[in-house]
């Protein structure tokens, strides 16, 4: 049983990083494919499409920061807290990256034929990012309450 609890602690420690990265992979792939498609139909503004498609990569960075914040000896005492905070923060980051990728793809698809709405079309992706930031910040705050040993 003790081994299982320790394993869960490690999962919680690495979880935010791994889940955030998985989300970023999926999100960037979705938005990236939309950007590539849009390149075929547009004469200019290619850079901003590619730039927008990289937006879901921030969740990986948040995951890394959460992982380092949670880093401490993994013991029976610390594992439950590490698991709960780490996995939940990771899932939130994963979902926010995937759906942000979807929002970016829609923004690229819409703004390719109507460039003037580009700025406004990013707003939904930015809002989704905001929820990812909430999960990130409060994981840092709540992570401070997990016993150090």
């Amino acid at each position: 049983m003790e081994q299982l609890i320790i394993a869960m602690g490690w999962a919680g420690l690495y979880g935010p990083m791994a889940l955030g990265a998985i989300g970023s992979i999926i999100g960037c792939a979705i938005a990236g494919q939309a950007a590539i498609g849009a390149l075929l139909e547009t004469e200019s503004g290619h850079g901003r499409f590619i730039g927008l498609s990289a937006m879901p990569s921030s969740q990986s960075i948040y995951g890394i920061v959460v992982m380092f914040t949670l880093q401490r000896p993994v013991t029976v005492e610390t594992s439950p807290g590490l698991f709960s905070v780490g996995i939940l923060a990771g899932v939130a980051l994963l979902l926010s990256a995937v759906y942000q990728g979807s929002c970016c793809a829609s923004a690229i698809n819409s703004s390719k034929s109507k460039p003037e709405i580009f700025g406004l079309s990013i707003a939904p992706a930015a809002i989704v990012e905001g929820f990812g930031v909430f999960a990130f910040i409060f994981a840092l705050v709540i992570g401070g309450s997990i016993p150090a040993q």
């Binding site: 494919q33 498609g37 979807s102 390719k112």
Partner: protein, 232 residues
């Protein structure tokens, strides 16, 4: 990649279609380029699109295809189209064709189709037959465009009728769009909308050619016969 995002690159590579099919702008993408882009579809989806084309395109249907043969063709394609989530689009269009057929048949004083006769498509065939003499076959509330279509048909206004049917299809397809999805259904919706624009432009070109020919003949008047004589 999930089904929801299966064709995100393909759809992003297609230019936006105009807000209405009746504009004067040229087609946003040519048939050849569209065909080329659609090569990105998977083999099964390409097959579904080909089946859809054979169901909807008169060029593939021909005038000698009987209604029975056509319905048989539909029944063969329906399971695959349903599996790919596009069957409802085809059903609605075929039901519209059925209603226009009913209007035409009644205008020719044909009797109501008998029970079991394969004369059209949709869940309301029996209802339409039973209400053959009713002004709108008892389905006017379900299809609000039907009364206008009947008026156009009765007053010999084929162009207006064509425009109304096209507008109705356009409205249906616009409603069916889901902007957060990039799947096969969205590709089909794009393809169908593109076909509507192309159909109207073709129709317009043919009508313009006929009008020009009539204007030339009217303008030439008696000289037309003179020039005809010169040719001889």
């Amino acid at each position: 990649m999930s089904k929801r995002h299966q064709y995100v690159d393909l759809l992003a590579s297609l230019p936006a279609l105009p807000a209405t099919p009746f504009g004067r702008e040229p087609l946003p993408i040519s048939a050849i380029r569209l065909e080329h882009r659609l090569e990105a579809l998977s083999a099964v989806h390409r097959d579904s699109l080909r089946r859809l084309e054979t169901l909807l395109d008169w060029q593939h249907l021909g005038l000698d295809v009987s209604t029975d043969a056509y319905l048989q063709r539909y029944r063969q394609a329906a399971p695959q189209l349903a599996e790919h989530g596009v069957n409802d689009l085809v059903e609605t269009m075929l039901e519209r064709h059925t209603l226009v057929t009913a209007l035409r048949r009644r205008r020719l004083d044909e009797p109501a189709p008998g029970l079991g006769e394969a004369w059209g498509f949709g869940p309301r065939l029996a209802h339409i037959s039973a209400h053959w003499q009713a002004s709108l076959f008892g389905v006017g509330a379900v299809f609000p465009w039907l009364s206008e279509a009947r008026d156009h048909l009765e007053h010999d206004r084929p162009r207006e009728l064509e425009r109304l049917l096209l507008e109705e299809s356009w409205r249906l397809l616009t409603r069916a769009r889901r902007h957060d999805r990039f799947d096969f259904r969205e590709v089909v919706i794009y393809w169908l909308r593109w076909r509507l624009i192309a159909a109207w432009q073709r129709y317009n070109a043919e009508a313009a050619e006929r009008r020009l020919q009539a204007d030339i003949e009217r303008g030439l008047g008696d000289y037309g016969a003179l020039f005809a004589g010169e040719r001889e």
